[in-house]
Symmetry: C2
Subunit: 446 residues, 2 copies
């Protein structure tokens, strides 16, 4: 989908969005100003808080959300929309406003994570792209932050690329880093987002050589004593003995990728110590999730590598957020709050301003001020000891450059770690629970 | 990562693969001929069979697996590999052979889904890309085939793009289609892979208009009576009444996206029939998975739309396949079978030939003939009433063009539906179970 030097993101879109634009251009509602809101009705997996991730990626893709020749030809040849709509799409540039939570911010049920304002036609068409990015990246971040909390000060690396689709793997590495991981195995995440990368050798390295000893010797010759040797290809005890025989007690580290880790880690530590390798670090990497990491807190482990569980959201592979029309202009230009009324999927209409109230620096409530008109709603000034959660991400179609690229990732990571400091202690537990703080809606006159 | 008119896929790679190449170029093992095998140790989710998907995508990305200027600059600037390895990567083209299961084929624990033969250096570097693609796409296909079986002859559409990362959504639509779905909401999947697309309107369409009646009237004016109206924005009974009042009894369809579907579908059918709209079809789309679809078998439902559960693998978001060195040359050029010996992650060394044995057309065993050398293993001719499962996908670096693009998708879908016909009836049940047929390994002399 590369056109004129840009890779169009415009067809990461569900067909019904274009169908609605088609009909709305005919009946005149396409130009009605609208407010769409992206939020989660609940925290998947009964987690205690969520982490917004993907915002910077979304903003970059919003810049490339233009229908190029390939896209228009497909839509025309397949009669997806009529000629008038094709002309509209050909000229499409998002000219509206996007406000939202900073990337890395915490969120709770009902938090207005992203608010898109523009004409119906220009805002409705972003539904799928916005949800795809934020639902995936936030699902990874939601899991990653728990692993990061469980790991404490021990280094934590993401190495799950092989268990995620190839582009998702890059996004997952980015989201995990924002939520507290320190490195990734994924090279494209390093190149594109500036995330530190790591990795030395797989079992194939040992199997490629005629003996484990030859493999270890070759690795040390190539990378020096500070490398990490994978010691469980044949037997762990034999692997440790071989490693220290080859490297001496100054070996940097060993990696264990199988077995019952609390038991094996203790045995390997004792063996290393007995061999004088008291400074050799132990990295474990076998099927870890936040619970396994927590269970290793008292074990002599120096670093963790996490694969499958972090890139698949550790049981909750999507954040399950939705994108809903919450306010629009009527035929006379007045603003109307709107919401679906279905019993099991009701949502709350109206434009929203969100604050996190704090007591002595600890979060107490997710306070959401709802305007049933479209006036400016209350600001943080009206909420003593509250932090305003929304910032402007796109203004008049112009994207906030600070949220983009590797710099945006660093800002998001730093913001996440600060926001996490505000959580009450009970939020850090791993068991299923209600959200750590309640979401409180306050209605004001429009 | 677009370079010289191609989008490089070379950094969809874990760092340790390049690190191993770096060390192997120094010690001379980089040029040893190797056989890597991609397989699953078990079927995730205790399913009864698996579905291979992603092969065609992988082959297209294999063609673009070349290190361009951007990739090489990143690796050099970040000291990932040394100058000799950079030179090797700059000239990298896969020149080996890939054999594997046809896309759409069924697989079982231990099935050699993909076999990559080449030098160590050229084959080891494909680990992450191959696993990313096949693990994701097969996870979706594994779930989709069960939904397709549960839906029977009723049309089934994939509409989960919003619950998957943006590129994964396209791959998921493709995998679901191969595994029996009939259409997708995802436009890029339509453009790129030729998959039929569908979709008419969201709740935002109704909320955009001053009344539900205006929304319905406008939609019918735009698309005619054959369109599908979403009738649950306010009240379902009122929505149906309004739909038929506006459209008359010739309305094409209604869609229900909330509520207890067996109950609601029956009520809507009765109401439609009472209004004379006996030909109006009912599509349901609310949080469906294979179990919910099966539970609706006796309900008056005409079509299903499935979102979250299919794109996230319905509880098993990765197929969990691994990529292991199973045979290699030694220093003298002889072939050696190799395998990791760890108790909980042992694998079976040796090159493998795979057959599905049949009795009266029904599958009875996954027969895997293992050669401990590197001779040609037994062929289908030695196995009466057995079907050879592997085909050549890449020969001397040249990709089988028939597996690519929309034509490859159609071939894979047809093959899947044929292969599914061979399954014993017990394989079609949805409950957790052992695999439907046993995997039997037979060792032969090399």
């Amino acid at each position: 989908m590369s056109v004129d030097g840009f890779e169009s993101t415009a067809l990461f879109t569900d067909r019904y969005e274009l169908t609605m634009i088609d009909a709305a251009l005919r009946d005149g509602t396409a130009q009605r100003r609208c407010v769409f809101e992206l939020f989660g009705r609940r925290l998947p997996g009964a987690r205690r808080f969520g982490v917004v991730a993907g915002t910077g990626r979304l903003l970059e893709m919003l810049r490339d959300f233009r229908f190029g020749d390939d896209e228009l030809r497909y839509l025309r040849d397949n009669h997806v929309v009529d000629a008038e709509t094709l002309a509209f799409l050909e000229g499409y540039r998002f000219t509206g406003t996007v406000t939202g939570y900073r990337e890395g911010e915490l969120y709770f049920p009902g938090s207005p994570v992203l608010t898109v304002e523009g004409t119906f036609a220009e805002a409705v068409v972003l539904e799928t792209l916005a949800l795809s990015v934020l639902n995936h990246d936030s699902a990874v971040a939601n899991a990653a932050t728990r692993m990061s909390i469980a790991a404490g000060d021990r280094p934590l690396a993401e190495m799950g690329s092989r268990r995620a689709a190839e582009h998702s793997a890059v996004a997952a590495a980015r989201a995990a880093y924002i939520a507290g991981f320190g490195a990734t195995s994924n090279l494209e995440a390093g190149r594109l987002w500036g995330i530190p990368t790591m990795g030395t050798a797989a079992h194939a390295w040992t199997l490629l050589h005629d003996t484990e000893e030859e493999a270890f010797r070759s690795q040390i010759e190539a990378f020096g004593l500070d490398t990490t040797l994978l010691i469980d290809t044949y037997g762990i005890e034999e692997g440790v003995a071989t490693a220290i025989r080859v490297a001496g007690p100054g070996l940097g580290g060993v990696r264990i990728d199988s077995g019952d880790l609390p038991t094996v880690a203790a045995e390997v530590r004792a063996q290393l110590d007995a061999l004088g390798a008291t400074g050799t670090k132990i990295t474990v990497t076998s099927d870890l999730d936040e619970f396994a990491i927590a269970a290793l807190a008292a074990s002599p482990v120096d670093a963790y590598g996490v694969g499958t569980s972090v890139v698949t959201g550790s049981g909750a592979p999507t954040a399950g957020m939705v994108y809903k029309l919450v306010a629009r202009q009527d035929a006379a230009g007045g603003w109307v709050s709107v919401a679906k009324a279905s019993s099991d999927k009701a949502s709350k209409g109206g434009r929203k301003a969100a604050f996190r109230t704090l007591e002595h620096g600890t979060a107490t409530r997710e306070l959401i001020v709802v305007s049933d008109g479209f006036e400016e709603v209350q600001t943080a000034a009206d909420q003593p000891d509250a932090r305003a959660l929304q910032v402007t991400l796109v203004e008049g179609g112009e994207v906030d450059a600070g949220a983009l690229g590797p710099a945006g990732v660093q800002t998001a990571r730093a913001h996440h770690l600060r926001a996490r400091e505000e959580l009450p202690v009970r939020a850090l537990a791993l068991s299923r629970s209600d959200p750590a703080i309640p979401t409180v809606f306050v209605d004001v006159e429009g």
